[in-house]
């Protein structure tokens, strides 16, 4: 039965759904973030060359996470986490935009997951909005004294929900024609809700688990990536 299951993709806006003008608009909106991300990545790599392979590994993680369909029994549909919460926490939101764009490009090229014309829109929602939401949430909760696990959980949840909220807005604005935007936007949000509400919580748990595991196994990496301060190391005197 498992092998006979139909592959199911999610979140990504498929090829041809958005009119050309809107597809071009989201490409243009993405370009500055992508440029800043590449610049930031080069600056970080100048300080420490080992960061580039780590970013490559994170891109592989985001690629796998964001094309892994998970059945949600409460909704009867499948969807997937985004992974940009954890990448934004570890390497910052700008580099996370680059990571998301690369992962989505490979999915669009080889897996028919999303599309080349809608790549700008998909990368904007998952890369820009997802990464920024996750990173800001993580920093805010840490600033309020939250533990790594709690901050990671909130970051994962908000990165996921933020991505789908942005997808709803992008889809509604692209397909509405003469129809009013807000009711259509709310309709898409409500349609996503039964699937993404539990899946966002799952993404929060996964993100918290990944950050906590890194803290236990390789806390030096978290210091290097400026996620925690040196004084927060477990064996710090």
């Amino acid at each position: 039965m498992l092998l006979a299951a139909t592959p199911a993709w999610a979140m990504h806006i498929s090829e041809g759904i958005l009119p050309f003008s809107w597809a071009a608009f989201w490409y243009l909106a993405l370009v500055p973030f992508l440029a800043l991300g590449v610049r930031r990545l080069n600056a970080l790599a100048r300080e420490d060359l080992s960061l580039k392979p780590l970013v490559g590994l994170l891109a592989a993680v985001v690629f796998i996470i964001s094309c892994m369909p998970i059945p949600v029994p409460t909704a009867g549909t499948c969807s997937h986490p985004c992974g940009t919460g954890v990448s934004a926490i570890l390497v910052g939101p700008l580099v996370s935009v680059v990571i998301a764009a690369v992962a989505l490009l490979i999915q669009a090229l080889f897996l028919a997951h999303g599309g080349l014309s809608t790549l700008g829109a998909n990368a904007f929602s998952m890369g820009v909005v997802g990464s920024l939401a996750g990173w800001l949430a993580f920093r805010a909760v840490r600033g309020m004294g939250g533990s790594l696990a709690v901050s990671g959980f909130v970051a994962g949840v908000l990165a996921d929900w933020g991505t789908y909220a942005a997808t709803s807005l992008i889809l509604a604005s692209g397909i509405r024609g003469d129809a009013p935007l807000v009711p259509l936007f709310l309709k898409v949000v409500l349609a996503f809700l039964p699937t993404q509400l539990p899946l966002g919580i799952l993404e929060g748990v996964v993100t918290a688990g990944m950050v906590t595991l890194l803290y236990k196994k390789r806390p030096d990496l978290l210091v290097k990536m400026r996620v925690i301060a040196e004084k927060e190391l477990p064996n710090h005197a």
Binding site: M1, L2, A5, T6, A8, W9, A10, M11, H12, I13, S14, E15, G16, I17, L18, P19, D48, L49, S50, K52, P53, G56, P69, P71, P73, G76, T77, C78, S79, A108, L109, F110, L111, A112, G115, L116, T167, L171, G174, I175, R176, G177, A179, L184, K187, V188, A191, F192, T195, Q196
Partner: protein, 92 residues
């Protein structure tokens, strides 16, 4: 005391694992229909209502396991290369 703690841990693990396995088996064997992704159930459905339909992908990966094999091969070669040259990759 540690023995008692260990027993509680094992019990707790079984309490979580067993229902999960039973649920997973039931879920897949009794599933009445294929579980659509939300892109079909939400994105494409709403878009179709507004006159927009998904096009075929520009590069059609087709069906079958060939693509899976290509990814496996690329992953194995890439992983081997990254592991073999890891010190070169990470040295200053």
């Amino acid at each position: 005391m540690p023995e008692r703690k260990r027993k509680w841990k094992i019990l707790l693990m079984h309490l979580i694992l067993l229902p999960t396995i039973i649920f997973a088996l039931n879920f897949f064997s009794l599933a009445p229909k294929s579980w659509e992704g939300v892109d079909e159930a939400v994105v494409e459905k709403v878009a179709k209502e507004h006159g927009r339909e998904a096009r075929d992908p520009l590069i059609d990966p087709g069906s079958g396991d060939l693509l899976l094999f290509a990814f496996l091969l690329a992953g194995a070669v890439g992983g081997f290369a990254a592991g073999y040259f890891w010190r070169d990759l990470t040295k200053k």
